[in-house]
Amino acid sequence: MIAAAATSIKAPYIDWAAFSPIVALICGAVIVLLIGLLPGRRVREQIVPGATVLTLLATLGLTIWQWGENTSIISGALAVDRLSLVLNVVFVATGLVTVVMSLRERATVQAGQGEYYTLLLASLAGMAVLVAAQNLVTLFVGIELLSIPLYVLCASELQREKSLEAGLKYLVIGSVGSATLLFGLSFIYGATGSTDFSGIAAALSSKGETIASNPLMLTGLGMAVVGLGFKAAIAPFHQWTPDVYEGAPSPITSFMSVATKAAAFGIFLRFMDVAVIDEALTWQPLLAALAAITIVVGNVGALAQTSVKRILAWSSVAQGGYLLVGIVVSSAAGLEATLYYLVVYVVMNLAAFSVVVARERETTHGDSLSAFAGLGSKRPILAVPMTIAMLSLAGIPATAGFIGKLNLIGASVDGDYAWLGVLIAIGSAISLAYYLRIVAVMWMPDRRGDSPETDRPHGQPEIIGLAIICSAATIFFGIIPSPIYDLVRGAGESIGLL
């Protein structure tokens, strides 16, 4: 009986080349963890971050090596195509920036360097798996591998109550999101009889009727959207965002605000545009409503804040609303506009967070707005990058954010959702109020004279360097946008969109 079985079962073929970026991340995480166990101060403070950077560079190299690939690997678990490769580059770049930001971070000492960087790499591996997932089971495993290290990283500053609180809140809310997602995915499997995205799409198109006639599928889809909405911080599932972003160590906040968002929108794009694209007419109004709510709630919520990290948290909610518009239209143009804006958003948000991290360490005011008072005259090297980042996030012309928003508005008009394009413009107008408030605090002469003392003005050249590089890139891509166009072009076709 065993012999007979041996002939009938064939082991799946594994395309190691296409799989290599994820393997590199996982192996790197394991190596970094083991290095972190070795004794010695030098090992902890130099070799561990060094090994992390090497892992990320190796992943970047392997991703570039696989550029142009468009295959489905390991029994259809993962898709290696333009969408996942572009996002891999985004994740690796964010990872590198986060490592540099973390070099002097207290959290790495309290958590242990080995653990901290291992969790960072594990979360990146989860993102890489998630955005390439084309199977419901892979999707869920990827989202858990992304989330669980982040829950711990949020709480990694073990002596600060706010950090622990952020970790706990993120864990509780994130678990609710995961559970909702899993519930929804099981309904989708029940309705279509397949866990593969292609199988779901085939089941939906073969029925020849709308999804509305199948309550199981409709409920499943709704719950899946809610679950992904929690991860992507889409209103009304965004309530954890300000508290968690504020409480988490700043490098981790920065990592979450860009990489997690990119991963969540990556799988959102793939799931909506591959698995359930045949039912686009059913879910488009739902997502359009969510996008509208998110833009309004995010921008209005940011107005009354006094902490810069909270402002950036609400702003990231609002930016998520803009990104959602590209998914609503469910066209190749929409997908590429979302991907374009994601890349741009990563660059400009990292510039802003670099300055926040620098300022947090230079003064005793933490991330409060008062830490930025009078920055323009005292530390223009930080004030200028922050100003550029704020203007770009608001979408002022000659910055990358402007072109990104233009693309999204263009895609929304082409996709018969012009009113969402109008809403993007209105949201940007509202957002000027709080982005310019930060700019004003920095450049206005300090009347009250309570601007904070700068304790160690030259103690962290690497963070200042990051701020300058990211803000320079923001301007560069605002004037010459073609490199990013080349990067994202073809992503829509690679997953079969028109």
């Binding site: 029994s75 600060r160 804040q305 909270r310 933490g366």
Partner: protein, 218 residues
């Protein structure tokens, strides 16, 4: 026989779930959850998912519940009976949304599921739900999730040890930052939107006590 078992298991599952929410003492809630999970195992068995049923008993009703009991003991549950947040808006909204979700799930399952009840049920392979079939799936179709699950468990172990490990020099409480107290009202914290300082209170009390306990027994 199957019908009788189904109703026993279904009533047990619902009663257990209700008990988790209704009971005041967290220890009773955990025990109620055990009853719920055992009933679910029986339901899995009735669905011919034998391996899943066994795992449910071993992992969930066994190991996970022991952890829950430890956690409830650690957090000192008896001093803080679980109570709803005292907010009128939440008291109306929460049951309303729960009811909506309930209706939605009923429509989803009854709307499509009833058509299969009168028939013979699905045609299953002879070894359906046995470890062989699950092993085959884990090695073919779900190979990647299988290996990634191992990595995920590794990461979970790292996270658990990182958070719970006792360190030298980390026991002294930190001086709270003065600016944290100056947050004006109405900035949209989660505590505000939930209608009360639930998280703040619970975390504060947990951290207050964690310095004094732990040493007693640990």
């Amino acid at each position: 026989m199957v019908e009788i078992l189904f109703f026993i298991a279904a009533i047990g599952a619902i009663a257990g779930a209700v008990g988790v929410v209704v009971l005041e003492n967290p220890f009773y809630s955990v025990l109620s959850l055990v009853a719920h999970l055992l009933s679910l195992a029986l339901l899995f068995l009735l669905l011919e998912a034998q391996f899943v049923a066994a795992v449910q008993v071993v992992v969930y009703a066994g190991a996970v519940m022991v952890l829950y009991v430890f956690v409830v003991s650690y957090v000192g549950g008896q001093n803080l009976p679980i109570r709803a947040v005292n907010s009128p808006s939440l008291r109306i909204a929460a049951p309303l949304f729960a009811f909506c979700l309930f209706v939605e799930l009923m429509i989803a399952t009854l709307g499509t599921g009833l058509s299969a009840i009168s028939s013979e049920g699905p045609k299953l392979a002879a070894n359906y739900g046995e470890p062989e079939q699950i092993g085959e799936l884990l090695l073919t179709k779900f190979l990647l999730p299988f290996e990634v699950a191992s990595f995920l468990l590794l990461i979970a172990a790292v996270g658990a040890v990182m958070l719970a490990r006792r360190r030298r020099g980390l026991d002294e409480p930190e001086v709270p930052a003065p600016l944290g107290l100056l947050r004006p009202a109405g900035t949209g914290t989660m505590a505000e939107s939930a209608g009360g300082g639930f998280f703040r209170k619970s975390t504060a009390s947990a951290s207050d006590d964690s310095t004094s306990t732990g040493r007693d027994l640990g």
